[in-house]
Structures are given as structure tokens and as C-alpha cells.
Amino acid sequence: MSTLTDNKHEVTHGHIPKVGTLVAVWATLIVLTFCTTAASYLELGEFNIVLAMAIALTKVSLVAWIFMGVRYSTSLTRLFCIAGLLWLVIMMIVTSSDYVSRGWQYQAQPWSHAASGGDSK
């Protein structure tokens, strides 16, 4: 792991993106916004949400990769970026697992206590 970076006197730090790349990313984002708005008018049922989220994710990763400079930053910064999203996903999945499993009916397994009418052995 990096201890103190040695004291190189290099003037600028990090990569300076070219204007061309920035404008290209901007254009893609605008196009993707049109796509997602247009796609929402299609009748795709459940797939609508999946498509909208897929487009949103591509837009977000584009913004993060170029605009926020994740592309040029250290692996530590990338780890922190992913850790934030991972914790959000943990919260969402575990919380919704409660709501999903509320409706399940329990069939008492033969070996279980419940099968024997719940009375003690």
C-alpha cells in the first residue's frame, strides 16, 4: 500500500481530459436521455423498468468514468466508489428480501417442532 508518495516535483497531477472527449461524453449523455424518454413510450411491460435502469446505469458510469475522472484515479478511489454502491445494494436487497418473503406460507417439515403441533417433546 502506498505510504507517502515520494516528493517528485512534477507540476500537474492527474490526467487532463481533452475537450473532444468531454464533448463526446456530453453528446452521448444527451442522446441516451432521448433514448430513455423515447423508450418509456414503448409498451414493454416489466421490461420498461429494466431498460430505463440499464440506460441510467450507462449514463452514470459514463459521468463517473470521464467527468469524475475515475478513469485516471487510483485503485483506492475506485474501491471507495464501488464500496458506496455495494452498501446501497446490500441495504436494498436485504430490506426487500423481508418484503418478498412476507407472503410465503410455511409447510412444516416432518422433523420440525412445528409438525408436532408445537407441543414440547
Binding site: 507517502l4 500537474t12 436521455t33 420498461n48 452514470v60 459521468v63 467527468f67 478511489t77 446501497l88
Partner: protein, 226 residues
Amino acid sequence: MADTLVAPHEAEHDPHLRHHFANADQQLDSATLGMWTFLITEVLFFGGMFTAYVIYRSLYHDAFAATSMVMNVPLGGINTGVLICSSLSMALAVRAAQLGQRKAQIISLLLTMFFGVVFLGVKAYEYHEKYIEHLIPGPNFQFPEAPQYFHNAQILFFLYFAMTGMHAVHMIIGLGLLTFLLIGAYRSKYGPTYFTPVEMIGLYWHFVDVVWIFLFPLLYLIGHTK
């Protein structure tokens, strides 16, 4: 490691190097890591509301679709475009700071702030529209389009106002930070050796744009044609 605390010649002519850092690189690295750590807290802050959104969308599927029909989709799309333009101008501002172009910094910062204000203006208009149509959850909430979802729709509108409201608050804070940057750029404080504040506020602004990129489809697009 430099044997003395701070290389003497560097300390004098670099007023921005804070005393406890050994060199500019360490300062910028620390600032970037600090900003990303702060962005994690922002991800989880908005994450609480997104979790509530995911749960209630799955519980009250049709009620949420009915509320999307009330949303002004073209206006939302324009707003998304405005925010993406502000992200571009912010990235250009950071680039200009790295190259030390004072005029380019000022123009792009002004442009970013302009887009920000436009976004907030559109948002204010939408809120006013909802206020007139009595769509603010609470005692005088009316939902004539789909009276059967009168109860559950209030949850979505509450989430709508909570998420876009919190996002707007972050935009206002961002505009404040941009004015601070504008003053600094005007005084040509930022150059190739010192542009940390510009890059940090740029990260913050891009994050606010990222949140909106998720908010737009979730609140406006999904199910609005049914």
C-alpha cells in the same frame, strides 16, 4: 522521504500547501480520497430514499404508475439535458483550472451556474404546478385522475417531494460552492499547481447530476404511458 519537514524552497512559493502535508501530491490525493468518502455518505443518504422507493414501487405497483401519468415528462427531459450540460461545463471548468486558463475558468463556471439556476427554475415551476393541482401529500391532497389510489399515491408524491427536494437543496449548496470558485477564479487563485477546490467541487457537482440521472426515469418515466 524529504529529510526535513518540508522542503524549504517549496514551502515559501507554494502558499496553498497546508503545513501538515509533505507535498502537493499528498495534499491532492488526500483531498480526492476525502471527497470520494464524502460522496459515499451522499450515496447512502439518497440511498435511504431509493430503498423506500424500491419497496413501495413493488408494493403499490399500479398506484405508482398512475402518479407517473401526472408528471410532466418533457419538462423532466429538458431538465435532465440542462443538468448534463452543466456537468459538461463543470468538467471544462476543472480542465481550465488544471491548465491555468483564467478566462476559460470564469466562462465555464458562469455557464455551470446558469444551467444550475435554469434547472432550479424548472423545478420551482413543477412544484408550483403540483401545488395548484393539490398534489402535495397532506390534508388537502386531491387526486382526481385516479381516486382509487388516493391513499397510496400520497406515498409516491411524498417520495417525489423528498427526493427532488433533497436534490434541489444539494443543487443550491452546489451553486453556493460555485460562487466561491468563481471568486477564486476571478482572483486567478487556481492554476496548474493548485486546483484542488475546483476538482473537489466538480466531483460534488457531477454527483448531484448522477443522482438526477437516476431520479428522472424512476419518478417520471416508469409506467407513465399506461
